[in-house]
């Protein structure tokens, strides 16, 4: 059945999960960089999630989400065999991928690693030498290490506490790599806004093409509302149809961060109410 969750895997217990969903028509079209918009319940909010992987033969897509508020928490209550009420995609422009002379460095942070995975895989398939650079606060919070290992000849890891890989930040690893590499054709950064901003800052002196994937607030995802607008090179762009990927040097990160907080009080209220009602539901069943 379309939209049915076929497999669920907890990546970080309680906060991050991976779903493999039956969605043949989306899987057939999904390219790296695309995302879906889903709704979990009637009167639910439409939220965008990146397609972390797609298998057109099996007719499935993979999504990975961090539980952050009402909708993702509700999604987390679903299990294998459950259906996702509304699932729409693929949306957004696909990543521009072709054979490049030098290596491609794919930097991922937090849940962004899963989103970055699909892009890295695309570059790998195009015959590019992909270097994965990923980071998390500590070892148990690191996602998709094995998946990336399968497609990247090198995966560089940093953790804030040093429990795995190098102690420090991904940007430090990136800087070293840029210094030591003979030829880097492109750097891709996917993760929290401050991380993407920092990636762009590090790559700037090297003059290397830098692509970031923006996660602005979206409603329709097909260019009809402008909720997702971001300033890129001083121009207003709609992340859902002009992006979500943009030139990392041109993005107004401050505006993006501020706009991501536009509905904070309402979101908190919504989450609180959900937690209350959800406890209720659990005791019933």
């Amino acid at each position: 059945m379309a939209n049915t969750i076929l497999r669920k895997r907890s990546l970080i217990p309680g906060t991050t999960s991976e779903l493999v969903v039956d969605a043949p028509h989306i899987a057939a079209k999904a390219r790296p960089g695309n995302f879906v918009i889903l709704r979990v319940c009637p009167d639910g909010e439409r939220i965008p999630l990146t397609i972390a992987d797609a298998d057109p033969t099996a007719g499935t897509i993979t999504i990975v989400y961090l539980v952050l508020g009402k909708t993702t928490a509700h999604l987390e209550t679903l299990g294998e065999g459950d259906g996702i009420l509304d699932l729409c995609g693929p949306l957004g422009r696909a990543t521009d991928i072709h054979k490049l002379p030098g290596e491609v460095i794919c930097v991922g942070g937090g849940t962004g690693i899963a989103a970055m995975h699909h892009i890295a895989k695309g570059h790998h398939k195009a015959g590019n030498y992909v270097v994965g650079v990923i980071g998390a606060r500590s070892r148990e919070l690191l996602l998709f290490y094995d998946e990336l290992k399968a497609i990247c000849p090198e995966v560089l890891v940093s953790t804030n506490d040093g429990s795995f890989g190098r102690q420090g930040l991904v940007t430090e690893l990136l800087q070293e790599r840029l210094k030591n590499s003979p030829l880097v054709s492109e750097v891709v950064g996917v993760g929290p806004v401050p991380m993407m901003e920092a990636v762009a800052k590090v790559t700037k002196p090297f003059g290397v093409k830098t692509t970031v994937s923006l996660n602005s607030i979206m409603v329709d995802g097909i260019g009809m509302c402008g909720a997702c607008r971001v300033s890129v090179g001083g121009k207003t762009k709609f992340a859902c149809v002009d992006g979500p990927e943009f030139d990392g040097q041109l993005v107004d990160y401050r505006e993006l961060s501020q706009r991501l907080g536009a509905f904070k009080p309402q979101e908190q209220r919504s989450y609180e109410e959900f937690k209350k009602s959800h406890v209720c539901k659990c005791t019933h069943s």
Binding site: H25, I26, K29, R39, D43, G44, E45, R46, K70, T71, L85, D86, L87, C88, G89, P90, L91, V219, D220, I222, G223, M224, C225, G226, A227, R229, V230, S231, T236, V241, R254, E255, Q258, R259, G261, A262, F263, Q266, E267, R269, S270, E273
Partner: protein, 476 residues
Amino acid sequence: MSANAPTPKGKKTGPRTPMPEQAPAARVKNFSEVALGYTPDLAKAEAVRCLSCKKPPCRKGCPVEIDIPGFIARIVANDLDGAYKVIRETNSLPAVCGRVCPQEVQCEGQCILGKKHEPVAIGRLERFVADAHLSASACETLTGGDECKLVREDLKVACIGSGPSSLTVAGYLAAQGIKVTVFEALHELGGVLVYGIPEFRLPKAIVRQEIDAMRAQGVEFKTNWVGGMTITVPELLEQGYKAVFIGVGAGLPKFLGVPGENLIGMFSANEFLTRVNLGRAYKFPEADTPVIAGKNVVVFGGGNVAMDAARTAMRLGADAVTLAYRRGEPEMPARKEELHHAKEEGLILKCLHGPIEFTGDDKGYLTGVRLQKMTLGEPDASGRCRPVVCEGDTCEVPCDMAVVAVGTGANPLIPQTTPGLSVNKWGYIEADPETGETNMPGVFAGGDIVTGAATVISAMGAGRKAAKEIARRLLG
């Protein structure tokens, strides 16, 4: 509340029969429909005013040429079924049109009575007939009995988008026994009728009933399918659809192009209305989609969209809603009834004012807007007077929310993914005005994506033309 005594039978020159409506003070606090509709008595009182002209000019004023005197005569004769059938011959969404058409420039604008007295309230009568019928069973509603044709699965047609243009194509073709599949990008069907026009003007239940009626006729609806992304036009043709109708509307919101437009609290009308209508943000937190309920709201624009945004902001609890429009009140393109209702509800009009700049605090929240005074100059190409800047005459209006309703552009998603499809210089799809066919054989287009933002009835008119041509080709 405002229903006067019915016009005495036979008195045609008296004032038109008012339609009961919610009182302004009450309705501004709720999202229920403002205009309540005629009772049978009121409808009859109004219907008898019709002169039953031999060559009715009202019919010429109707983009789908409803036999207006014909249906009104049946109201007088107590034959509501007959009246409905007459309307349905040319209009597949009468309950919607009775509510949202700009009748004053269409049918009612042509009414002979209107030359000396008030025109017959055709829109209200159309709504009355349609509402009276919505309770009847679906197939009967559409075709007047068990005449529903068997759907031929071998003759299939695809519609992209589910606004009034596509729905008209679907309704018309289904009645001819042609299998129609409608692909809609959003999770709800109806286009602007559900995500744009608010509940208090067009209850969603009405749109849903019209759609259910089509479903009962065999039309298949697929939501969450994005034309150009989930499936492309060439793929639909490959899959055996004999024709594809593109009715995706003119979605892309325009902004004002002045500094500060991305501050928090600044919305396009599309975003604001979509959050409230499609996302049901008016019942947050019961519904999850949030919206900012501004206390001091400024809306930019002078059309129906601006009116809907302003009146929605009032209902979300704003203390003051100001409408800033660059031209004068007579130039406003909104339906007169909407402007009238909005003023009754407390809308502050600031005509001849345009924005120069939005200001915000250091956290990125909107705090105010600087407005430029304008005056009217010479008429421009559109025939409307051009607004001219009054140098040095500006003012500040504090606000925590602003809504931009200054029009939309063409959504490029379909043209970008349909190689060879002709569009004009603004990105609107080029279609034959007679048949709706694009430069690609078998691919038709109509509604706002062809004309730019227009009206429900003109989108339906375009759908009807295309549907007739498609039916002619498929059925011979």
